[in-house]
Symmetry: C4
Subunit: 329 residues, 4 copies
């Protein structure tokens, strides 16, 4: 099987992962309309390619919140990497460092933050956070992440409750008992630990806990983008949780346009969801994103060959992105 | 078979109901374009989800014509419930009462109004009426319904003649001889008993028969909505009879918008047709409906497990509706 | 096999006709885009149904060029009816007379005009004409038609050359030697007898030959509609020859709108192509057609049971048309 | 197998060519969206057919850059014709001359320019050029082409790097060792010989080498069309390299419109990509192209029967084009 594009990794993962794990990673909410729209929306955007520009040398490095990365593609937070590969998030951390990009470790990691840090010292990492009913637990996580050298705090805003992913319900999805990270409350124990009463004011509380930049993830409208800026976040990830939360909202690449417009450069804007080709990265950047993050494709890379597989995925995206830039002029 | 969403009940009913009964419930007029459009139109409507709102407590109770129901989903009038479950409309009535919502009993019920009332005393019920050539028969039905405690009279306006449902014609659909409700004229005996000469003035006649509120069902245009208000109805159900009458008219959720606009709050507006998920309910409410009614999904629930199956269907819709509200902010 | 709608007749004809005959009747030019668009375009048109109108009595009779017909559906000119049924156009003429409607006999009939006339004396018939290189031949046909009591002359304007119907080319379609009407030049002998140099001025020539009203068939634009009126025709059939001539022109129901607008009532406008249901007839009339003509469905009816089959087709259309009118208010 | 339309040749080629050759000819970049869009975009363009015009005599000859051709369809530059037919480009040259049209020989030909010239002396030919890192090599090619009587120089502007054609990567596509033309660097040896730093100024350099007219190929925007005119080219081929370079740019027939508008007649504009029927040619001409060029269909013709097969393809297009003109009035 030759791995030529990201769909090849998807096909591999679908074939070789246990069904319950594949279903969990692939799941979208309800009819999966938004999950699929994330991809279709990219296809509706067309280039206006320009010719005869000198494309012999292209610099694709960029900076996010002041840190340089080798190209504008990072790893979005996704849960339970041990479902994809035995070493789990340790492999993810190593691949991200090797490819010189940013890895957002999920609260629902199956390795502890300490294990992730130890696996790839010096890598650029952000930590993704949900706010618990038990605020002390959240506070402790933030402090640990900061102490371990994570350089950003990503607050997920779109999960007051977990979306209805039918296959997970059918499969009775639970994390296998031998996998356990810092906080597997939703699927492990204890249930209902997330706080659905969180509001914008809790950004101030979070701010009081840490000096790390706060990036808010899950914004899809200009109104919320304006609120995010007003409440002092440093970055916005336009995201619909890979279509796993509310179904039939906008595709992220469509929402990006209105968020970028509302933000007017005051904070950095990123996007995740639906990136499958280097040209998708170029489109997102052309529409104002500073960087994109990949979720499922990273998991497919892990499922293929752990650290090496994820590096393959990133390399392909990098090559495709560079080629698209050259061909689009 | 795990019942996770309404489509699961549909699949069950399709598999286990006799073909002739399934076909009758599933039938749409002509090419079934409108039947299918009812569903597709919901998919074209997209949310603009808002984040970080306190969604820890949500009140989903509502009132229709002054009666409180537990959530804004009632049971639309559909015929011949014994085709789906031996106890027929008695089970429907019990499930509706148990879930604390409104059940609109059809003229074409396979239980008498007395049986329905006795099955679930105290439940909120409306009675759906066609006007007969023999006006005395209609008058008698209205009086019986009122005497039995039905709290609303739903006049169906879109059936001067029965739509052409090809499968029913092919199947030679007739109600089995052992099933018989109050008035199975169209499919039982006698045929041609409905009066195609009914006009808006007959609302006044109906008004003279009863003190019950009159709800008109089958309105799809602003012009008719204006006429309905002018003729003094208390409520409007935007409906195309589940796509079973005129094919290639508008989807109900699309028609709802213009009806709500025309009505300007003077009477309550409801909608049926195409509701398959909790998010559909939220969309209908966001577009101005006070409540929605489900037709085929209720029958699938009955076909699954009678009263319990219908309660399952309602519970799933309720949970999905609540979750959608939370995730949409 | 129960014959419930026109598609049932289509399925029958496809199953039982010799492939070469089915292919000939079904053929569209090139990719058959326009043939299929004729049908799809009807589906894009939606009703705004009105309720509570007295639809107990409906008059569906109409007049075309002064002659009354029982409902606004006539038989479009199509060739070679003996390919569908042994009695060919004689059966067509009988069915049209029995159903009290208009039959446009094609130049490419497999019965002579005399046979057609004798088969159904007194029926309302028009004669469809191509103009020959040999004008005397055309003149003779016109005079014979007039003498036989045909009441209109339909000049086909969209066939300077025959469209490219791939299946006919593959099949090497030729009329079987035992079938022969008045003028089977294109498919029989002699080839190339039609005159591609015909222009609007030839309407004057035609006018000079006959007192019959002239109806021009094949108009698709407002510009040509204006020219047709200016050159003194009595009627226009908006037609694309069933999608058999130029592929990727407009659907006839779409073209009807601009033709009706241009004509402003100065002459009668009819339409053919894509009529498959009674509601299609209603749509065409609502958009300004005085009457519609059916082509392939008539052939399917013939293929099913000759005169009786065609009567079945017309009866179904009539019933569906009447029901649509009632349900649309 | 009867060859009635170009799709028949495509089916033949797909069936009989070695998979690796078929894949190479069929390949599009990435998801092949643009390759397929080239065809779909033609289908979205509709004719407004006019009737009763004298179409008995039609002149379909045209001139491109002063040379007359028998109809406005030439052969676009495509590589490696020996993959389709043993005689390769020699057959192509012969067919083009026989049909009295223009053949643009590719830099990636599997016959030398001398062989091509000798095969069909006197034929109208242009030479397609990439600019090498080794400018002397390019200069030599230009001089050879000019000396051999090629009458135009086509500079391909859209290939600073080769697009990502997944099947070619999977197949490890390489030209078979026994095939070798003048310059098979990209697929033969040496790799990376094309210069990605080429800019508009290199047009002046090219101008200094030759008196031949320069046609630039690969323009898709009004901005680049303006630059092309400004830099003194004689012609523009609107092209996206058959969808083989940047995926998800515009279809060529859509881009043609804006290029023609920008050019305002100052230079001739041609188009390639997606031509599959004579009516496509008519559409392109109606939208301002002086002539179209066919790529893959020419290869299918070669694959069918070499010179004779390509002549068949051209003849079919010619007949269809003529018929479309007549039927569109």
């Amino acid at each position: 099987m030759s791995m030529v594009c990201l769909s090849d990794f998807e096909a591999y993962a679908k074939k070789y992962l246990p069904k319950i794990a594949w279903d969990y990673f692939a799941a979208g909410a309800d009819d999966c309309t938004t999950r699929d729209e994330n991809i279709l929306a990219y296809k509706r955007i067309r280039f206006r390619p320009r010719m005869l520009r000198d494309v012999s040398v292209m610099d694709i490095r960029t900076k996010i919140l002041g840190s340089e990365i080798s190209f504008p593609v990072g790893i979005a937070p996704t849960g339970f990497h041990q479902l994809a590969w035995p070493d789990g998030e340790k492999s993810t951390a190593r691949a991200a460092r090797a490819m010189d990009t940013c890895y957002i470790a999920s609260t629902y990691s199956t390795c502890t933050l300490e294990e992730i840090s130890a696996a790839a010292p010096g890598g650029l990492r952000w930590f993704q956070l949900y706010i618990h009913r038990n605020r002390a637990a959240s506070q402790q996580l933030v402090r640990r992440a900061e102490a371990l050298g994570f350089q950003g705090l990503v607050l997920t805003a779109d999960l007051p409750y977990t979306g209805k992913r039918r296959d997970d319900v059918r499969n009775g999805f639970r994390l296998p008992p031998h996998m356990k990270g810092d906080d597997c409350s939703e699927y492990g124990l204890p249930p209902n630990s997330l706080d659905p009463s969180v509001t914008w004011n809790d950004i101030y509380w979070l701010r009081s806990l840490t000096r790390l930049p706060i990036i808010i993830k899950g914004i899809l409208t200009r109104e919320d983008a304006e609120l995010a800026v007003k409440h002092g976040v440093q970055g916005i990830i336009v995201s619909n949780h890979g279509g796993r939360q509310l179904d039939e909202g906008p595709a992220t690449i469509d929402a990006l346009v209105e968020v970028v417009e509302a933000v007017r450069g005051r904070v950095e804007v990123y996007v995740d969801g639906g990136i499958r080709k280097g040209s998708d990265v170029l489109k997102a950047l052309a529409l104002g994103a500073k960087c994109v993050f990949i979720g499922r494709p990273a998991l497919w890379g892990l499922a293929y060959k752990g650290e090496e597989g994820l590096k393959d995925v990133l390399r392909i995206l990098q090559d495709e992105f560079r080629l698209s830039m050259a061909l689009a002029g």
